[in-house]
Amino acid sequence: MKFKRILAAGVSAAAVLGMAACGGGGSSADDNTIVFWHNATSGDGRQYWEDFAAEFESEHEGVTVQIEAIQNEDFEGKLTTAMQDLSSGPDVFMALGGQKDRDMIAAGQMMDLTDKITDENKEKLGSSLDSATYDGKIYGMPTTVQPGGIWYSKDLFAQAGITEAPTTWEELIDACQKLKDAGIDPIAVGAKDAWPAAHWYYWLSLRICSPDVYEESMANKDFSAECWTAAGEKLQELNDAGYFNEGYLTTTAQQGASSSAGLLANHKAAMELMGTWEPGVLKDLTPDKQPMADLGFFAFPSVEGGEGEEGALMGAATGFGVNPEAPDIAIEFINKMAEKEWQDKYATAFSTIPATTESQADVTDESLAMLITALNESDGMKLWMDTSLGANIGNALNTGVVNLLSGTGTPEDIVKAMNDAAAKG
């Protein structure tokens, strides 16, 4: 009888302790294990990192790489929580730059890699390193740069009688009208996710604001300059003319055939403004799961009277940061990412532009090659505005744009929303 009681007590105590023990799974104390977090949860991307880790393990005896692929939308929240205690956080993790990186650096959660990345790699990476450099110090190993632009269906353009890709805003409006007259939805936009709609605003701002005003506004987070409202007004024109796909407010960006990428992949809409990842996303959404055959690309058109730098680019830069408490072997791990072989494979697996110049030269895809040329001609690439501003103001900006599109907000409200958000964080 007594024995049973003691047993029962033991079991319940064990249950409680067991519960407390869950939630580990972060960095391990030993020097031969690298905990590695990335966001490629499926397909070629996931395979790429598995192959990469396997080769690294075979080169370094006794080292294990513990990979955790985390769904993109959950990534930031999980990382913030795990890094509360550096010893429970991952050793190497994906970092997208901008305000989030600045916050993590300020909290001492990212290792200064200035002396850790080899000189050879620094040379190969060149301007790609800009996206991971803060106050002259390098905090990340970039793997890809992903500028955006407009992806379109060549067949649908031909069907509407458009012979040349638009280069100015007027030509774009013209093309939209022709498509609409031909009974085709001109532009697909996944406004449910907000950022795809907000990208139209980012690009218009980049074209309309002079580089000085743009830089200054972003640095001071003050958007009172006139060009910020002007960008909203241009977007409103496009919206009022009805060039976005039907029901765009409840359209998602990438999920399934009814998403904006799905509409383009299935020839239900003619264009989409997106980053370089677009061909890879479209591939999974075409009826036969093959790359979209008639996919074309053109740079975001220039805006007449705009003071922005000619051909300026905006996009995402994916890189990898290192936990300050990570073992030394983690440094070798990130340096390996810049090897030519793995950069080439990265570009194929993710259908994107690699970060090193030597691998960029190997890219054969026509649209991507076009973007690389543009990248080399322009004075570096700006980060997406929401990434650059951080989640707080970035989210407010994106919401402001959605409100504008849905008719419940004005261009002035976008600016006001960004200022209001500053009070919350």
Binding site: T80, A107, L249, S258, N395, T399, S406, D420
Partner: protein
């Protein structure tokens, strides 16, 4: 009846206890400790502690990195002021209460009617009972994804409507319709739970009452009105409580069908979606915690007021204080006396 049996069974045990009072008491305390400890630890760890931390975080402008006192900036009650002044939060509170009231008004009559129907004997009753309960069992994510695909501007519902020549509206994005759409989906999803509760309540009503009423010549609806409804009241009160609490916490359906951006413009954002959107998604962990505390207080006040004024008669002896119960018993005795006196007159 069960309590009588329990009392009967308890007697020999208490007699045994009297034999060895000291060791028995110790054993009993140990038993209580061992059995209650896991529940208490979970409750303290996942309810009380987060609450205290939420209060603490809510006083800081804090991005979630490190400790607020080191990496944050003390803001006093600024977060609370900003929240109350934010028109989108005010709107979200409004939407939440529309959902609270709307689901009660829509679901209560439908659930009672369904339960009445399912309480009768007819062929295929079991199947209908199961079918009504199915939506409640399906996960919110699946329900949300399904409805959002059906109700898109170019979705299946409007496609069907176009066959009969109706140009369907934008069920989800149009601010005039979105709230109605949400209430319909919520009712469809949760009606099964209400029906099952009502059905259980009805089955505990003694058959004799209906037989007596029949003898007295009462019709079907008269019987439902005078017997079923009054005796169903305790069930109804508990269901109202559960439904209100559920509505106050509404998050998943809205977040999946509308997403955190469109829910604001469509007018279906709730307190919880506002908290996630402006707290976690925006990286404002301090502000989000302040909003969480506001939501907690609003829910607590609603729950306490309801318990105090409506639910207390059902919970008598269980949750309310003994003193109050005694007071009420005394009042009742007095009333009975008065009644008896007036009858004598």
């Amino acid at each position: 009846m069960t309590s009588a049996i329990q009392a009967e069974a308890a007697r020999p045990r208490s007699a045994k206890k009297e034999k060895k009072p000291s060791s028995g008491k110790l054993q009993r305390n140990l038993e209580i400790l061992v059995l209650a400890a896991p529940a208490i630890i979970v409750f303290v760890g996942f309810v009380i502690l987060p609450l205290i931390l939420g209060f603490y975080y809510g006083f800081y402008r804090w991005k979630g990195f490190g400790m607020p006192s080191e990496t944050g900036e003390f803001a006093g009650i600024d977060n609370y002021i900003t929240a109350f002044k934010d028109p989108t939060f005010q709107a979200a509170i409004g939407h939440t209460f529309i959902v609270v009231v709307g689901s009660l008004v829509i679901q209560a009559p439908i659930a009672i009617l369904f339960a009445l129907l399912l309480n009768q004997k007819f062929k295929g009753r079991g199947l209908v009972r199961t079918l009504i309960f199915v939506p409640y069992v399906i996960s919110e994510v699946i329900v949300g994804t399904g409805w959002s695909l059906l109700l898109q501007k170019t979705g299946a519902v409007n496609e069907l409507l176009s066959y009969i020549g109706i140009d369907g509206p934008d069920w989800l994005a149009d601010p005039k319709i979105a709230m109605i759409t949400l209430l319909v989906i919520i009712s469809w999803k949760y009606i099964g739970f209400a029906v099952i509760l009502m059905l259980a309540g009805m089955q505990s009503i003694p058959e004799e009452l209906y037989e007596a009423a029949k003898v007295d010549g009462a019709g079907f609806w008269q019987m439902q009105w005078s017997i079923t409804l009054p005796l169903l009241a305790p069930t109804l009160r508990i269901w109202v409580f559960l439904s209100m609490i559920g509505s106050l916490q509404l998050f998943d359906l809205v977040n999946i069908i509308w997403g955190s951006y469109i829910s604001e413009t469509a007018g279906v954002s709730t307190m919880a979606t506002y908290m996630v959107r402006n707290g976690r998604d925006s990286g404002n962990y301090g502000y989000g915690s302040a909003v969480a505390i506001i939501i907690f207080i609003i829910s607590l006040v609603v729950a306490l007021v309801y318990q105090k004024f409506v639910l207390n008669r059902d919970l008598e002896g269980a949750l309310t204080e003994e003193k109050q119960a005694k007071k009420r018993a005394a009042k009742r005795a007095k009333e009975a006396q008065r009644l008896a006196a007036s009858e004598v007159k």
